[in-house]
Symmetry: C2
Subunit: 217 residues, 2 copies
């Protein structure tokens, strides 16, 4: 897609690999919980239902984290993948839309654990303003800009209806947001420097429907 020129830091890692990274991270976490401190690609491949070859290929996109004859050090690999995913430090974020889904995300303690710190939750409905969510209060949309600028926020979850998602996303981008976690049922068209990650729940449910109800022999 993008043509890199001159001194480039990182060769293009394929989306398929990036897709799998957080899953490796989760499995390594589980291993740590079980006090397992080394693992071979073949043992991990059995647990994850992948091939050992794929695991080694994936990891070698980022450097040699293993050791011949030994395997991988769980704690070390976990940390390295954390660095790759950029979750080795805190990232402030906001949630736009305080409906059930926005509230659900705000209450997800797992995100905090991964370093994502909620700095604001906003809604256009005045009835919700001031209502507490964790240790934050729901604020009017008009306050997004100042919060984003104050905390240099780059990540925003979009939990509003699809018809308002497009203009709101544009505003967010103009404030400096460049990572949109989009739960609205639209594909957002964004400038090149902005990244979107879509979570289209109804599409996920339709895929399940396809697979459950397809004729199997």
């Amino acid at each position: 897609m993008t043509i890199y020129e001159g001194t480039m830091e990182k060769k293009g890692i394929s989306q398929a690999v990036i897709q799998r990274l957080p899953r490796y991270y989760r499995y390594l976490e589980d291993l740590m919980d079980q006090n397992i401190d080394r693992i071979s690609s073949s043992e991990l491949s059995k647990r994850m239902h992948l091939t050992a070859s794929q695991i080694r290929q994936d990891l070698n996109n980022f450097g040699g984290f293993g050791q011949q004859g030994y395997g991988y050090n769980v704690k070390n690999l976990h940390e390295e993948i954390g660095k790759i995913l950029n979750i080795d430090r805190e990232h402030p974020m906001i949630i736009v839309g305080a409906g059930h889904l926005g509230i659900a995300l705000a209450n997800y303690t797992n995100f905090r654990k991964r370093g994502f710190v909620l700095r604001g939750i906003f809604d256009s409905n005045p009835k919700l303003w001031g209502e507490k969510v964790g240790d934050l209060k729901i604020s009017p949309m008009e306050e997004i800009e100042s919060v984003v600028k104050q905390y240099h926020i780059r990540l925003a979850a979009i939990c509003i209806p699809k018809d308002v998602a497009v203009p709101v996303a544009e505003k967010l981008i103009s404030y400096g947001i460049d990572g949109l976690w989009n739960f609205a049922h639209v594909d957002l068209e964004v400038p090149d420097h902005v990244v979107t990650e879509n979570v289209h729940l109804s599409e996920s449910l339709m895929r399940l429907s396809y697979r459950v109800f397809e004729e199997r022999s």
Copy 2:
């Protein structure tokens, strides 16, 4: 994966294609809302940021829905994809776990629109029993079995913590559930006849983090 023998109905459609089907469905819906009643693969490819070739290939996995020199009839194609996805009829489903996420899903009117009819929402916390969610009441887990059997339910959304997700999923399967929509942070190991669709939100957020904070040149 599976080896089909004898008279088989459907050749294996690749996951990549299935992944895209609900998105086609959504775009066709948008076209209908705009009163557009025919579209060529090339026009659709521009809107969806795909190649026209891919669209034609994808659709031809299921049959020739287009017409040379004309393109595709939007309404017709929408209906055909609906049939493929098995959302041309109603599917009862349940939600297990009435935390914020379970409640959020229960309130998603979009699912109902796609034919997914909520028949029960359950939680182990007695304090929640009897509380209203839409026109349902939160019920104890003990009642899952009878509801599943009464309505011949095959789909269940799992919105409970990861440590209880595994045993609960096993129970659900024993009651006849064979489609698990899993929001817990575990990969469920299920028998061959059961299908799982995972929505691992924290993994999605980590992918966003990777892409936003990776060094770009």
